[in-house]
Symmetry: C2
Subunit: 459 residues, 2 copies
């Protein structure tokens, strides 16, 4: 008898465990077989397509999201206002002029100013880091800067991206401080298909705004070899420009809680995408997964707490949707008991990462335990669980994310090749199942994740 | 004593084997360590760049080849005239207009006519083979045809390409016979980076010439899904056009034979490339390898027969260089004792393939035996050993090729991403070594490959 207790726990524990197990099995089975997450991404990417915040595509996406959430059986489906800075991509052309002539495959980075209308031409200087750039000192003035740092492939974390992302974010500022006329950056990506990767960059008050474009890895290597022969001369023409602010929206829907409807488990993703592809892995996959996960939870019957789906506008160009949500729901954030963002592509699930300490890992590990059969139950800590959650975890909301296979994610990220075919339905549905199981556990759980404090690592 | 003979052969055999072994070792060691093949490709792709026959790039390539062969120590370096049809790529634009709007990534196929200046718009019909197309019958008239047949990845042969290539070659003719207005073809390639692959196509006397473009695999799948919703409407605008004939050239150089200088072992590659990339794997690699292999052979001292390097113009758009060579050297072809073409990329060597029967395989196997340490000594038969050799083996010249790893070749073939970085110098140098060892063996051999007869398979 004692032995049986050790193995199976007490009688009420058995009943609770059985309910959880059966619910998890139903969520996983339905996620893998009903095809809903993939069908949702397919409809967003094919029927809406690219949806850069501030463009007509983004407004079509808002209409689409309202419809998709209603079809999924969510309630209280509505929009919430977001202001968005509009940026027009225009045309981008570049060429190596000397010592030999080649076209360069470039795209403007989001937010960049234009070159003079006729373009600009200048001598190139190269650096692989800001330290190297600063060491060039006066040699940068009047030149075009090439920031050339290869990105490492890393299938399990964003570490490779994290290493190079500051060069894109701050490259125009750092180069302009030294008097550069323009900046070209080797695309942040791991592919080798002459694809430029776009992305966000920023200027700084009081520092000259200079044009900033990303070029294909192949062309960065060509420029490097050209420089090895002596002087390299480059031409660049960009017509991109800012064009005021426009109204846009986050889209929200819910599975209303049966006992504590005012306590919220938030499932987020971002509705906007970059404009070169159709935003399938970034972040159509996330939109499809969180809508489908909420649908699966609703099909099991109302959970104890409310599961809320939030599709944020404008993650890519400044998080204005996430900031609007945090501001408009300020009074309610104390009742946001957990928040997950799905913005890591469509790869198979590897486990979870939580902003917090040992207590957070322990509780999330219990919620994720049924996923061991999917090899997705491991939990680790993280400093950040998705860009759209930053305003929430700054307000103390416990934030976590699904870790997914990223092996090929950065081959396609922010390029014209971010299209539906990059998504393996089976892997997407495994990831959807993992989100559904843990989100329902959070919505049912007696215990709650610790709130995040300013020094959350020490909890 | 008997035992020694069995193990080491007779004394003169020992001496001959030792000479061959030492020569092979020197060729392999130098090929791997001197860096010449890679340096040669790098200079062609960086300093000349793209070189579509009939363009200024191709003429720069001719000047480059004369210089590169002289630097490599070849003699009798000269050009031979070739007439080339000039085709201007112009602009290509396409879009899915309904049931939803998307830009399509397209390139014109080489030789295609333009659309009307304002473009054309029409309803799409899809087929995955000519049989399917014909079965559509009257539904093709007035429509835009989508030829959508995925290409299989095949690391060791051209079989996957061979399966789809006829659709590109004859697609415009077959569609026009049924009254189509234009044709789009899913790119012949194995990559997934929204890259259209260009290539050759042809028209036929008496059949209407209709515009023909290749689109990225992703966009072919999008059109397929759009059609599944009912009617799909597509817009296409091409400004490509033919622009008369111009003079161009093959470039020839030699390592003169010491005993039988009028007997020729020919090492060919093609100097022209498609215009979207810089023609590194197709066929800068081949040019680099055959020049470097001839240089290595020359460094060992003159071989018994002449080793001749021929860089053919215009392989990609009609073989006019190869045909000019065969015509101009007609009287000499009977003394071409063997011909190899290097036009299979830059991958590691897997062995050889020869146009012929068992006797050809047996002799080539002896020549290739020293390469067993490189895992490159296996010999098989083939129907064709490179497009530029077709006019030669039609004239009886024994033709063979190096088989190379093609795993990633068709990811980049005929795209903007066919650039230097796709070449692994070590693999290129292994392949160069394999060519040098077998070419020198052919130039020294007492025995000769059987001439090719019309029914060469039966030899």
């Amino acid at each position: 008898m004692m032995r049986r207790l050790l193995v199976f726990g007490c009688a009420s524990g058995i009943a609770a465990a059985a309910e959880t197990d059966i619910a998890s099995q139903r969520l996983v089975g339905a996620a893998l077989l009903d095809g809903a997450a993939y069908a949702t991404v397919a409809s967003l990417t094919d029927q809406v397509g690219s949806r850069l915040a501030g463009t007509p595509g983004a407004e079509r996406a808002v209409v689409w999201a309202l419809s998709a959430m209603k079809q999924a059986g969510l309630t209280h489906v509505h929009t919430e206002p977001v202001r968005v800075e509009r940026w027009v991509r225009g045309e981008a052309e570049a060429a190596l002029v000397a010592p030999f002539a080649h076209p360069l495959h470039v795209v403007a980075l989001g937010g960049s100013v234009a070159t003079p209308r006729e373009g600009l031409e200048g001598e190139l200087v190269e650096a692989s880091s800001f330290e190297e750039l600063k060491a060039l000192g006066p040699r940068v003035a009047g030149r075009i800067v090439l920031l050339n740092r290869p990105m490492m492939r890393n299938g399990e974390s964003f570490g490779g991206y994290g290493d190079v992302a500051p060069l894109r974010r701050f490259g125009a500022v750092e180069a302009a401080r030294l008097g550069a006329r323009a900046v070209l950056i080797r695309s942040l990506g791991t592919g080798a298909y002459r694809l430029p990767h776009t992305g966000a960059m920023q200027y700084q008050e009081g520092v000259a705004k200079i044009p900033f474009a990303a070029l294909a890895a192949e062309d960065a290597e060509l420029l490097h070899r050209a420089l090895a022969q002596g002087v390299a001369q480059v031409r660049l023409r960009l017509t991109c420009h800012l064009d005021g602010e426009v109204d846009s929206a986050n889209v929200i829907g819910e599975v209303k809680g049966r006992e504590r409807p005012d306590e919220i488990v938030l499932l987020g993703a971002h509705l906007d995408s970059w404009d070169l592809g159709t935003g399938a892995i970034d972040d159509g996959a996330g939109c499809g997964m969180v809508i489908a996960a909420a649908r699966l939870i609703a099909q099991l019957g109302a959970p104890r707490r409310t599961v809320r789906v939030a599709l944020f506008m404008n993650e890519e160009r400044g998080l204005s949707g996430a900031r609007a949500y945090a501001a408009d729901h300020r009074a309610e954030l104390v009742r946001h008991v957990a928040a997950l963002e799905a913005d890591s592509g469509a790869g198979r699930p590897l486990g979870f990462a939580v902003v917090g300490g040992a207590a957070s890992v322990a509780l999330l590990s219990r919620w994720a335990a049924p996923l061991s059969g999917l090899r997705a139950s491991a939990v680790q800590t993280t400093e950040e669980a998705g860009a759209d959650l930053i305003p929430l975890h700054e307000a103390g909301v416990p934030a976590f994310m699904l870790r997914q296979d990223l092996s090929s994610y950065f081959d396609w990220h922010h390029t014209a090749a971010d299209t539906l075919d990059k998504i393996d339905p089976f892997e997407l549905h495994l990831a959807t199942a993992a989100i559904a199981v843990v989100a329902r556990a959070a919505a049912e759980s007696v215990d709650l994740l610790p709130r995040i404090s300013a020094g959350h690592q020490q909890q």
